[in-house]
Symmetry: C2
Subunit: 206 residues, 2 copies
Amino acid sequence: MEFSSKLLESAVYEVSQLPGIGKRTALRLVLHLLRQPESQTTNLASSLLTLKTEVKFCKSCHNISDVELCEICANPKRQEKLVCVVEDIRDVMAIENTGQYRGIYHVLGGKISPMDGIGPLDLNIATLVEKVKEGKVDEIIFALSSTMEGDTTNFYIFKQLEPYKVVTSTIARGIAVGDELEYADEVTLGRSILHRIPFENSLKSD
Amino acid sequence: MEFSSKLLESAVYEVSQLPGIGKRTALRLVLHLLRQPESQTTNLASSLLTLKTEVKFCKSCHNISDVELCEICANPKRQEKLVCVVEDIRDVMAIENTGQYRGIYHVLGGKISPMDGIGPLDLNIATLVEKVKEGKVDEIIFALSSTMEGDTTNFYIFKQLEPYKVVTSTIARGIAVGDELEYADEVTLGRSILHRIPFENSLKSD
């Protein structure tokens, strides 16, 4: 793409550095901002800068938070000995939305992925092991997505926790509620038969 | 969506104001920026702000330009009496990419669209009429997309130019090169038959 303006070119370049946004989309977004009142651009720029420079993470679970101890960790009604290990804040939000979980979280900040140069030391694993070591945890629930990176991360943490007395579990994999059996992939269907549960348990909705 | 951080919420909100970007995508983009070095966020913010505050438009064709008279208008090799009317810079870039056009442009900055509150006075139409009035234009080529808004805009400008001696033309509509006839829509196919050209003309590639 050849631009008639260096300013435009540099703005489009920076926007196209975002994941999933190509040069064409970036140009569309930038032209949109040019047509809007200046306040929209200043608000966008300042909110991103403020977040980047002032973002804090909960000292206990590492979730993004404006205060030292996040709302979930600080809530006395949550079971603090039940810890759900997730990748990032999106998973926390998804699980919170179900309204089914009363424990706390531990946000790793990613998954082990040698391809992307992310090793165990780049993730918040040491603080989790420390918590377990100090006897603060009864059960750990692994809730990472079941990809190769997710499974590797689960297994790495599982190995680190072996010396300590802690129950480890993983969220159930199976056919999604409302899905047709014939369209399910074989691995999921296979697991859902292998890990079947007593019928009377399925009658409880909570 | 409930956020654990007001800073995060406000950044996601601002990003989701961009066209075609919902809350989920906005969250994904913001989390990506959080994982990247701070320079990426500062570069993004400053390039957008600089563009918004310092953007200039060519005084002749209204295209985005860093200088008073854009490269195309300032080029003595371009036919300055042949003017192609387009909606925005993306159309200029698309036509320039073909390498087939040697005239200059006139960028309207949009199309007449009462639904979006855009009337003729919001577009760069007066300066075009002025140019024609002063006898600076031999031919005007309308190259707006053929939607209702595009057709309305073409017709409005055409009416404004009626008192003056100027040739007006519109880009050819027809079956795209390489497309199969059977998949073409009826309007396009109909027009391509109505506006057929002498076969020997189709043999010239330039």
